[in-house]
Each structure stands twice: as structure tokens, then as C-alpha cells.
């Protein structure tokens, strides 16, 4: 019972703390006005405000002490807040005494004390805020924080890498539960930031019973009627969505609350729901950080047509118009080297490229669509392209290639469309029939 009274009184702390903050700040502002504005008559008001500040700070500190006894708060943050708080009380008291006997104390000492008072007051307030709202509350959205998109988890190369706990459960706990259930706050003595502490449970025992969603307190709390006292997240916070609950239930029941279980083990509709929420970039795209836009502008000045296919991956569609290319295509191609991994589509139709230029293009390893039609290209150059392992569409209309030269292309497993209009190759050629049977669509003239 006394514990309840302690908690009840302690919870007035967050309300009360604003009083000393206000009193002490107005005291210092008045002092500043008094000195700079030459209004000595204000000294009495300064002393009075400091007295109010010191008393209310003392009350705030006592209430805070009671609140910290009521549990749920611990750690470095609390220690710093506590020490800074009592220092503020002490300094406020000293400042009051000093200003009351202003004529006997050196002015510089007086000012320094007031300066330190504001400093400790700020420190106390800041760490108090961090305790209530979370350590990164203030800076999370700051422009310099380098914050990743919080709604998405870590960056993955493929969906195969995604784990149910790390990539689905954790992010949703982070957004819906961890503002209260985290180190330093641990409401109900439950800390949800790591797998271990989550499994450990809270003051009422474990919250997750592997294989048994019905007995898992976590599921019970989030599925209660919203007006029930035990309903989580507590009042005023966003409840979990049906899908989120579905996922947690699946993880506990079918996934045995296994921290490493793959997302692909889950039901189809769950995977479908999770997919757009994962941060999957694809292995080759993870390198595609930022494109050098200055270089892109210089390419455009030369006459290249540049189009960004995806802002996320930095994939580019590059077109070199034939009228720009005239006579200098080899040199122009070299200007593409700095962005070679970003080139996904490349069109060099009728630019006069020759076999040896293809050796350079072979370095653009992410190319998916390559248009090199109507150029004096022959079998000798084509073999260089066989290492373009992501190539899907290749346009060789109006080139001098032959069936035997194209055999090298069979190595490109990703190839799905091949254009051979106006070449010596015929639909009935043995090679064409063979490659057509391997899911490559070969297009000749209509």
C-alpha cells in the first residue's frame, strides 16, 4: 500500500519539474535585464524568483526520488539525472543566498553561479526527457543524425537473408512497444530491445511461451479489447495492426520463437505483407549508393541522354544519340567509366561503335538492356559481351553478326530477348532454334 502511495506521489514529478525550470530561468533573465538595463530595483524580484526556484526544485527532486523508487527506471541516465537534479537544487539555494547578500559578494562569482545553475538545469532537464521519451528522441530526426528510414530495418541483399525476428518482429516492437519497454524505463520490468531480454519477460513472468500463442502474455495483451486495463500498447499509443499481431503469433506458434528463423518459412500472405516493409536492395544494388550528379550533368552537356530509372538504386538509362556520336564514339564511351556500375540500360544505336568498343562495354557489369543495333559489329566483338551476366535484352539488328559468333551468348543465363532483324541469321538456323527453346525470345523482321 505504501508502495502505491509512493508511486502515486512520485508521478507528480514530471508535472512539477516545470515549475523550477520556469522560476530559475525567469530569475536569470531578470538578473540579466537588471544588469544590462541598469535597473537595480529588480534585485528583490531576482532573489524572490530564486527562492521560489530553490524551493520548487527541492520539491521536484524529492518527488523524483519517490518516482525512481517506484521502479521501472534505472541505469546511467537515471544516475546523471539524479546527480544533476540535486546539484541544481543546491546551486539554486546558493544563488538565492548570494543574491540576497548581493552587496557582499563579488559580482563575477554571482554571475558564474547563475551560469552554472542554468547549465545544470539544462542537463537535468535533458536527461529527464531522455528517460521519459527515449535517448534518441531529440536527435532522431535532426538533419545531421544520418538517420536511416526507421520504418525499414537493416539493408538486405535478398529476401533469403531476412529473419523473422530481426527483420519483422524487431522493427514492429521498436515502433510500437520500445518507447516504454526499454533499458532505462522498462515498464513492468519488461525490456523488449533484445531477444534475450524479451524472452526473459517482465514482473509477471515470461511474455512469450514458444509454440503456445494462447499462453503468451504478449499476444494476450495486444489482443484484449482496447478499453481493457491490461491492453497494450497503453492508452494514447498506436495499437498493433492485425497483420502485426498475426506475424507475432506465427513467430511464437509455428516459428517456435526462434531468433534466426527465415522469413520464407512463414505463410505466403505473411511474406507478401512483409516484403514491401523489408529493405531489400539486391546484392548488386547495395553498392549503388549515390550517383555523382555533377558527372551526370557533364555527360548531358556532351550530349548523352541520361534518365534515372530508380532513385533508390541509382540505376541509369543512358542513350547516346547517333548525331552526337559521329566519329568520336570511342572517346565518348570512356566518359561513362566513372558511372559504369550504374548503367542498367544503354543505347548506342547507329553510333558507329566497332568491335573493339565492346571490350569497354563489357566492363559495365550491371547492364540489363543493351542496344547496339545498326553498327559495324561482327562476331569478333560479340564474344566480349558474354560476361555481362545480367543482360536481359540485346539488340543486334543490322549488325554483321552470324550464328557461330553468337554462340558465346549462350553463357548469359539472364538473356530473354534477342533482336536479329537485318542480319544474316535466319529463324530456321539451328542455333536460333536451340536458343529459342531456352526461353530466349529471338525477334526477326516482321
Amino acid at each position: 500500500m505504501t508502495q502505491d502511495i509512493v508511486t502515486f506521489i512520485g508521478r507528480f514529478h514530471p508535472l512539477w519539474v516545470h515549475l523550477p525550470i520556469g522560476f530559475l530561468i525567469i530569475a536569470v533573465l531578470l538578473k540579466g535585464y537588471m544588469v544590462l538595463g541598469k535597473r537595480p530595483v529588480l534585485q528583490e524580484a531576482v532573489s524572490f524568483a530564486l527562492l521560489l526556484g530553490a524551493i520548487s526544485a527541492l520539491v521536484a527532486a524529492l518527488l523524483g526520488f519517490l518516482l525512481s523508487r517506484s521502479g521501472g527506471y534505472e541505469g546511467d541516465l537515471l544516475d546523471i539525472h539524479l546527480i544533476a537534479g540535486w546539484t541544481t537544487v543546491l546551486l539554486a539555494g546558493i544563488a538565492w543566498w548570494v543574491n540576497k547578500n548581493e552587496d557582499r559578494i563579488p559580482k563575477k562569482l554571482n554571475y558564474s553561479i547563475l551560469g552554472f545553475l542554468i547549465l545544470t538545469l539544462s542537463v537535468t532537464g535533458h536527461f529527464g526527457g531522455s528517460l521519459t521519451h527515449g535517448e534518441d528522441y531529440l536527435t532522431a530526426y535532426a538533419p545531421f543524425s544520418g538517420r536511416q528510414d526507421e520504418s525499414k530495418g537493416r539493408v538486405l541483399a535478398t529476401i533469403e537473408e531476412a529473419e523473422v525476428f530481426t527483420d519483422v518482429i524487431q522493427p514492429l516492437l521498436r515502433s510500437k512497444c520500445q518507447s516504454c519497454h526499454r533499458p532505462g524505463k522498462s515498464k513492468g520490468e519488461l525490456n523488449m530491445v533484445s531477444y534475450e531480454t524479451l524472452l526473459k519477460g517482465g514482473e509477471n513472468g515470461p511474455v512469450i511461451i514458444p509454440m503456445d500463442g494462447g499462453k503468451s502474455e504478449l499476444i494476450r495483451r495486444v489482443t484484449l479489447p482496447e478499453d481493457h486495463d491490461d491492453f497494450m500498447p497503453s492508452e494514447g499509443k498506436k495499437p498493433l495492426t492485425e497483420e502485426e499481431i498475426h506475424w507475432i503469433r506465427w513467430w511464437i506458434e509455428k516459428g517456435n520463437a526462434d531468433p534466426k528463423i527465415s522469413i520464407l518459412e512463414a505463410d505466403e500472405d505473411l511474406i507478401e505483407w512483409a516484403k514491401p516493409r523489408l529493405n531489400i536492395l539486391g546484392a548488386e544494388k547495395m553498392l549503388a549508393v549515390s550517383i555523382d550528379t555533377v558527372h551526370l550533368r557533364s555527360l548531358e552537356k556532351i550530349g548523352f541522354r541520361v534518365r534515372v530509372l530508380s532513385q533508390i538504386t541509382g540505376a541509369l538509362d543512358i542513350v547516346l544519340p547517333s548525331e552526337v556520336a559521329t566519329g568520336q564514339v570511342s572517346e565518348l564511351l570512356k566518359t561513362l567509366l566513372p558511372i559504369k556500375d550504374h548503367i542498367y540500360w544503354l543505347s548506342l544505336a547507329e553510333t558507329g561503335i566497332q568491335d573493339y568498343d565492346l571490350n569497354l562495354i563489357a566492363q559495365f557489369s550491371n547492364i540489363q538492356r543493351l542496344r547496339i543495333e545498326n553498327n559495324p559489329i561482327s562476331d569478333a566483338g560479340i564474344s566480349a559481351l558474354k560476361n555481362l551476366s545480367r543482360l536481359e535484352v540485346l539488340n543486334l539488328n543490322g549488325t554483321k553478326v552470324s550464328s557461330s559468333g553468337l554462340e558465346a551468348l549462350a553463357e548469359i543465363k539472364s538473356l530473354r530477348s534477342l533482336f536479329l532483324w537485318n542480319t544474316t541469321i535466319r529463324p530456321q538456323d539451328e542455333w536460333v532454334i536451340k536458343i529459342s527453346s531456352e526461353k530466349v525470345k529471338v525477334v526477326f523482321g516482321a
Partner: protein, 183 residues
């Protein structure tokens, strides 16, 4: 080429010549090409009218698609063919073997699409036996617009423009991408 698009394609201003022009524009990387052809409002004289209209459009349209395909341009070009409404399945006005008409029918009508990003060779959606109402997989105009924007690489829910002090979407507050027709 003229043979493929039909004799009329030699005559500037005809639909066939426009088709040929469209191909040339697309070949030059033009982002959006729209071809108009009017005179489809057959409230009367349908048997003759539709024959004439098809003569002017059929071959050239097919040629445009084939031509885009053989040049590899259909890989990243979407072709949409349609009007703003359909016509009734029942007739309007006088009814004789060589003269009758059909009224506007916006409730259910057909478009076709081909090229980049859409499934080839199938139909999507169904009407009742009288072609009056949609009974399966309806696609609203906003759905079609959302789908075309999606194929352009634009999220129709995020693309907005400001008009009279507030932001508008091209699809208003409606529209769903029709996933069933995408590859």
C-alpha cells in the same frame, strides 16, 4: 515500310502516316506519343462507317506494333488503344440490313494494351451475356490510369499537382493498379 503500314501511309495526315510518324518519334526517344483518329460516333450508318474506320486503322495499327517489336522498341514502349467510352450492344435508330446505329455505352467497354510491362495475348474482365454490365474483374478508368502511371514508373498516390490551393492526384482519391495485367 509503306507496304507494311498500307498505301495510305504515303499520304501525310492519314492515320497510317501518323502511325509511321509515331514509330519514328519513338525511335528518336520521344517519351509520349498520342495518335488521334475520329469519326467513330456511329449513331447511324454503322455497317458502312465501321468498315471505313477499320480500313483506315487496322493495318497501320498492326504494322506499328510489329515495327516497334522488330526494332526492339516494344521492350520499353507501352501501346494503349481505346476510346473514352463504348457503344451499346443493341441498336439505335432505323434497323435495316444496311443501316442501323449504336448509342454511347460507358458502362462497359474494351481497350487493349501491349508492350512493356503488360501480359500479352489474354483478356481481363468480363461482362454479362448482353455486354451491358461488368460481372468480373472490373477496371475503372482510374484503375487504368493508375496502372498506366505505374508502368511509367510513377506511384499515382504520390504524384500530385497543386491547383486552387490544394494538392490533387491525377487519379483523384480512387484507382488501384491492376496487377492482373502486369507481367
Amino acid at each position: 515500310m509503306y507496304e507494311m503500314y498500307g498505301e495510305e501511309s504515303r499520304d501525310p495526315g492519314t492515320y497510317a502516316a501518323n502511325c509511321l510518324l509515331a514509330r519514328k518519334l519513338i525511335e528518336q526517344d520521344v517519351k509520349f506519343v498520342q495518335l488521334y483518329h475520329q469519326g467513330w460516333d456511329h449513331h447511324g450508318n454503322l455497317p458502312n462507317g465501321i468498315k471505313n474506320q477499320c480500313e483506315k486503322t487496322d493495318q497501320a495499327t498492326a504494322a506499328l506494333i510489329k515495327d516497334l517489336k522488330q526494332r526492339g522498341l516494344l521492350e520499353d514502349t507501352l501501346v494503349v488503344w481505346g476510346g473514352e467510352f463504348g457503344r451499346t450492344v443493341y441498336s439505335q435508330g432505323t434497323l435495316s440490313p444496311d443501316n442501323y446505329g449504336r448509342d454511347h455505352h460507358p458502362r462497359s467497354f474494351t481497350k487493349w494494351m501491349c508492350g512493356a510491362g503488360v501480359k500479352p495475348g489474354f483478356t481481363y474482365g468480363e461482362t454479362d451475356d448482353f455486354g451491358y454490365n461488368v460481372v468480373k474483374d472490373p477496371v475503372h478508368v482510374h484503375d487504368l490510369q493508375a496502372t498506366i502511371l505505374h508502368l511509367f514508373g510513377i506511384d499515382h498516390e504520390r504524384l500530385t499537382y497543386k491547383h486552387q490551393g490544394r494538392r490533387f492526384r491525377l487519379t483523384d482519391v480512387e484507382g488501384h493498379v491492376v496487377k492482373g495485367i502486369l507481367t
